[in-house]
């Protein structure tokens, strides 16, 4: 397959070029990209848990949990939180439209769900902060 046959997907004149997309299309592309990331994450998640099978007393699992509580991994957890919340809130918007709710005001519904997503993401950040720096600690 030639690269040029993907021009409809990647070209500057493509309907998928970010500045060529309208609200609904942007939400749709974002939903698919975030969905693919989350499918990949499920397999990563299981592979991390599988370390429990490596040593009799779960030493490898404990060591990995220690590692994943380091700042780099916690930062990646926050990125995961952003992706999950976007996918969940945009998915809720899709479900609402399929139920016939809000289609006439689809742009407003998109930005309302994104506002809720933003609030939840801030909540996620605060929750992660609380885990990393427990009250009284820090």
């Amino acid at each position: 397959m030639k690269i040029s046959s993907f021009k409809w997907l990647f070209g500057r004149n493509s309907e998928f070029w970010p500045t060529n997309m309208k609200t609904g299309m942007l939400a749709w592309v974002g939903h698919r990209l975030s969905g693919l990331v989350l499918v990949a994450y499920v397999f990563l998640h299981l592979s991390f848990i599988s370390t429990a099978s490596m040593a009799e007393d779960g030493a490898d699992f404990n060591a990995l949990m220690e590692t994943t509580s380091q700042p780099l991994f916690v930062a990646m957890d926050f990125l995961l939180v952003i992706v999950v919340i976007y996918h969940a809130m945009n998915g809720l918007r899709v479900v609402l439209f399929d139920l016939g709710v809000g289609i006439r005001r689809q742009k407003l519904v998109f930005w309302v769900t994104m506002a809720i997503a933003a609030v939840l993401i801030v909540g996620g950040l605060l929750a992660i902060w609380h885990l990393v720096f427990p009250a009284g600690g820090a």
């Binding site: 397959m1 046959s5 021009k7 409809w8 698919r32 969905g35 693919l36 989350l38 499918v39 499920v42 397999f43 299981l46 848990i49 599988s50 429990a52 099978s53 009799e56 007393d57 779960g58 030493a59 699992f61 404990n62 949990m65 220690e66 509580s69 999950v84 969940a88 998915g91 809720l92 899709v94 479900v95 399929d98 929750a127 885990l131 427990p134």
Partner: protein, 129 residues
Amino acid sequence: MAEQRIATSKVAGTWAWAFQRLSAVLLIVFLALHLLAAHFIGVGEETGEEPLITFDEVSVRLDQMLYIVVDIGMLSMVLLHGLNGLRTVMFDFDMFVKRKKLIDVALWVVGMATLIWGVVILLPFITGG
């Protein structure tokens, strides 16, 4: 070019569409519970003050049938939703629509294998600790 993508909205099927919506709503609820249980509720009570997940602590929880059932149920739901979503994305491409049967079989095999793997990797927590 639009003509390179054919009308695929009906390829995935009505049941897959309906299931995707139902599982989406359920997953929002169960993912919230999963995160609360894993990181915020009662973590560190059994083993110390650190909010760190440990093998012993997970083992204590997986002695309870409720945790085992919810974990395996959630993994089943996640795999069905995730792989069905992947299937929907693939069927927007002509080259995958042409091989619909093969892709459906392959995704079921991957899903079932991953579910079995998921149960196997939980066993150390259930039997040990």
